[in-house]
Amino acid sequence: MAAVPVTCVRLTTSMHNNQIVRKNSTFMIVPMGRIERGFPCLRSSRFQIACAAKPETVTKVCEIVKTQLALSADSEVAPDSKFSALGADSLDTVEIVMTLEEEFGISVEEENSQNITTVQEAADLIEKLVEKKNETA
């Protein structure tokens, strides 16, 4: 807000009566235009659902598991099927986790990789890590 002192503003209007109208105002306050910031939208207001993973992530994980374990294309890989039930031993599980790391560009910690036993768990962990990566990027 800026205050502009206006001492004298002379308005001369020539009317038929030759009237001189003089407007005298001492202070005129001119609003400079403050940018009113509305609601700060710095953070995405997306709700994070902890338990669900996106279906395309789950399908990608299923594809990778099928390729790694050399399963046929029509074998059932459900989201809650365990890797050991599909015929994978611990070495295969580590390989699957590494392939997922490469595919999604994330980095899985030691302890986290021990806990992954089903496809759904892997998809959830991937979602979480991708979120974290996108937040810090």
Partner: protein
């Protein structure tokens, strides 16, 4: 007397091996390293006597150091043009 290596140690050796194999800039060497690591660990999966397991584990550790050194040296002198297999269309 070194205590026998546990399952988790072997798995973490496997992981570090695969991670260092990823760092090779050359496509051929990278793919070969990945194949060789998986094959070696699969072959030694059925070892039963603790002494042979310990020997294989020590050999694996040594090879891991070799792989790490070589990945570093290769990345210092990597060629400018990438292999055709690395370029995704």
């Amino acid at each position: 007397m070194v205590p026998p290596s546990s399952r988790t140690e072997i798995l973490s050796l496997f992981r570090s091996f695969l991670r260092s194999a990823r760092q090779f800039p050359d496509y051929n060497i990278r793919e070969y390293a990945k194949r060789r690591i998986v094959d070696a660990f699969h072959d030694n999966k059925t070892l039963s006597s603790p002494s042979s397991v310990a020997a294989a584990f020590a050999d694996g550790k040594y090879q891991l150091q070799v792989a790490k050194r070589q990945a570093l040296v290769y990345s210092l002198y990597s060629p400018k043009t990438k292999s055709i297999m690395d370029i995704k269309y």
